[in-house]
């Protein structure tokens, strides 16, 4: 994985960056606080001494004999009307200038750096006099090297601490990232192993509640669906091959047997005719499969129109009535008033034909097939096609719509179906925005088609 691309690297770097940012802000605040505190301590001391000196100067009224009593340990300088008036020996020891102007001070303060250390100077104006008033400027110096050193020391400690914190942040970040991404690694490893041959395997769910866990569950659900459709496809392909094999076997054996014997013209015609019948069966199979695969591919583009459902079903019934008559089956049609729906006529007709054809096929001679169309309360059209044949067992009611599914293998095959009729019916009904299912019927089967009156086929328009 390239540097900077891996989530782990980015996580660690971002984590370190955030930690360092927080540390930087905290360190700066500490530094400013400590520095202000220490400096204000120096100022308080300076002010205190300056107060004493200024009070003495004020009370003396400018008589410098009194100043002498202040002692020589405190370094201060007194200017009178801009002229040097007095200074202590401590002042000269510090080698401070003997002449200072008010203008030399900014905010009463002035830094003075000497070889021995750092001094802060503070000045204050005092107006006093015995006969006439004079302007005095008192300047006091105080050494604050120690304070400066502690402040600088703090800054150095804080910045060296930054290295330590950085290391800690990187290490902690790595630990956290590894911990958080551990399931990802497992998932990646597992996902790599899953292929078409091992679709039944699932990704490990480490913490079902967290984001990665949720993602894993979603992916597993997707795998469930994939496996399902893969299985259906596999079964479909194997079923289809099987269905092809049957007519192919017939064609082959009929041809081989016919060639083996010396037959008369009539027998040869029969053999060829029989082979052609099987060919027709294959053709029908291919046509049906094409309808379904085209439906699967979503390639079907249909134009929907307002059609009368009753007349559509009536057409189908009249078309197939002859088959019912042939078996002496009573085929009845009850319906409410005209129901006009937005549908695709040909596909829906195909669906009803397939279902009705099945009903007639499986109903015994002299039986009953009933078609009922009614309008439900929620404005849907309901088409019931019921018979008194053997019926559809409850446990296979969903399966009957699967491709190539047969309730009874032997029975259906002799009837000539490939088990695709109901699949096509389902596809066609759903294309028209409806549903199809087998429901309870005390005497046989009942296939129910519901067509929605409001939202049918909108996506195709």
């Amino acid at each position: 994985m390239r540097w900077g691309r891996s989530i782990k690297t980015r996580l660690i770097l971002w984590n370190a960056l955030v930690v360092m940012l927080i540390y930087g802000i905290a360190a700066t605040l500490i530094y400013i606080f400590v520095r202000t505190r220490l400096e204000s301590l120096v100022m308080e001391k300076l002010d205190e001494s300056l107060n004493v000196v200024c009070t003495v100067v004020y009370q003396s009224g400018g008589d410098f004999y009194d100043w002498y009593h202040l002692g020589h340990d405190i370094p201060f300088l007194i200017m009178q009307d801009g002229q040097h008036a007095y200074h202590t020996t401590a002042w000269t020891r510090l080698d401070l200038p003997l002449h200072m102007q008010r203008e030399d001070f900014k905010n009463d303060l002035k830094d003075h750096i000497l070889d021995e250390g750092h001094y802060t100077l503070k000045s204050r104006k005092v107006q006093t006099g015995i006969e006439e008033m004079h302007n005095f400027l008192v300047v006091l110096a105080m050494e604050d090297s120690e304070t400066r050193e502690s402040i600088d020391g703090l800054a150095a400690k804080l910045s060296s601490g930054a290295y330590f914190i950085l290391l800690l942040a990187l290490a902690g970040g790595t630990f956290l990232a590894n911990r958080a991404l551990k399931p990802m690694k497992l998932i990646t490893q597992k996902a790599r192993q899953i292929s078409a041959q091992s679709l039944s395997e699932r990704l490990p769910v480490v913490h079902p509640k967290d984001e990665i866990g949720q993602l894993t569950i979603v992916i597993n659900n997707m795998l469930d669906r994939l496996e399902g459709s893969f299985d259906r496809l596999k079964r479909f392909t194997s079923d289809a091959s099987h269905e092809f094999r049957t007519p192919l076997t017939s064609i082959r054996s009929i041809g081989e047997v016919a060639l083996k014997h010396n037959l008369n013209r009539q027998k040869y015609r029969e053999a060829i005719g029989s082979m052609l019948e099987e060919t027709e069966r294959l053709t029908q199979l291919v046509n049906n499969l094409l309808i379904l695969t085209r439906g699967d591919a979503g390639k079907v583009k249909l134009v929907f129109a307002q059609e009368d459902l009753i007349s559509l079903i009536n057409d189908v019934i009249e078309e197939l009535r002859i088959l019912a008559e042939d078996k002496n089956i009573n085929l009845s049609f009850t319906h409410s008033d005209d129901i006009v729906l937005n549908i695709h006529k040909a596909t829906l007709q195909h669906a009803v034909t397939n279902v009705l054809h099945n009903a007639i096929k499986y109903t015994p001679k002299s039986g009953r097939v009933k078609v009922t169309v009614s309008q439900t309360k929620d404005n849907c059209a309901r088409v019931d096609i019921s018979d008194n044949g053997p019926g559809v067992p409850a446990d296979v009611r969903d399966k009957v719509f699967e491709r190539f599914f047969r309730i009874d293998d032997a029975r259906s095959r002799t009837n000539g179906g490939a088990g695709l009729g109901l699949s096509i019916a389902k596809w066609a009904v759903e294309l028209n925005g409806g549903t199809i299912e087998f429901v309870d019927n005390p005497e046989g089967s009942r296939c129910r088609i519901i067509l929605n009156n409001s939202k049918r086929g909108n996506k195709h328009e």
């Binding site: 005719g273 019948e277 390639k299 002859i322 008559e325 040909a346």
Partner: protein, 228 residues
């Protein structure tokens, strides 16, 4: 009548040549698109049967070439592709008709007959096969002067068979032309068989000279004489 068959599959080409020759057509076969295109441009044919999937030059290209030369020879396309877009493409390119493989040979013959007599309207109002007569205006059918009462569907079925008398009619043609269902997968074969049986019972049962014959695996034929 001279027909050009452009078909690369040699078995199909041979079957077409033999089948059409036995119907009295003069057949030339081209097995590649180039040959077919050359022949179509250099000679005159009454009809061209064109396979769409050819090596070298596609059927649509050949069709475009022929139509660019403004030759109004009828072209019947044969193809395994039956999606609606494919049909539209073929017809838009100037084909006159379209037949999807595998096709029933009788249907191919019927289409060829229809294409080569284009312009001449075949709407005889009185049809006759042996002693079976049909009046399309009064919708009266008689055999040997005896009235035969037919249902509407039976009448349409018989009319279609009579109009194709002497030629085999496949179930597919009936589904398409008599039942007017375009969907190739609709299960109507049983329905057709029952109708044919009933028609036969009405028009043939009382006579020794049978007219309506079933050709197993192929379809039905209405003609005089036992030999189909």
């Amino acid at each position: 009548m001279h027909i050009l068959v452009i078909e690369d599959e040699s078995k199909v080409a041979k079957a077409l040549r033999d089948g059409l020759a036995s119907e009295g057509y003069n057949v030339t076969v081209a097995q590649t698109g180039e040959d077919g295109f050359f022949l179509a441009m250099s000679q005159t044919f009454d009809l061209i049967l064109l396979d769409l999937m050819l090596p070298g030059r596609s059927g649509i290209e050949i069709l475009n070439g022929i139509r660019r030369k403004n030759r109004d020879v009828p072209v019947l396309i044969l193809t395994a592709k039956d999606a609606i877009e494919d049909r539209v493409l073929g017809l838009d390119s100037g084909a006159d008709d379209y037949l999807v493989k595998p096709f029933a040979f009788p249907e191919l013959l019927a289409r060829i007959r229809a294409l080569t007599r284009r312009g001449r309207i075949d709407l005889a109002l009185k049809l006759k096969v042996a002693n079976l007569e049909m009046d399309c205006v009064t919708r009266k059918v008689t055999r040997d002067k005896r009235d035969i009462l037919l249902t509407g569907k039976e009448f349409e079925l018989l009319e279609y068979l009579m109009r194709h008398q002497g030629h085999v009619v496949s179930r597919e043609m009936l589904v398409h032309d008599v039942w007017h269902v375009t969907d190739r997968a609709t299960p109507l074969d049983n329905v057709i068989d029952v109708h044919v049986n009933r028609l036969r019972a009405k028009m043939d049962a009382d006579f020794d000279n049978k007219l309506l014959h079933t050709i197993r695996g192929v379809g039905f034929i209405l003609k005089e004489g036992d030999e189909p």
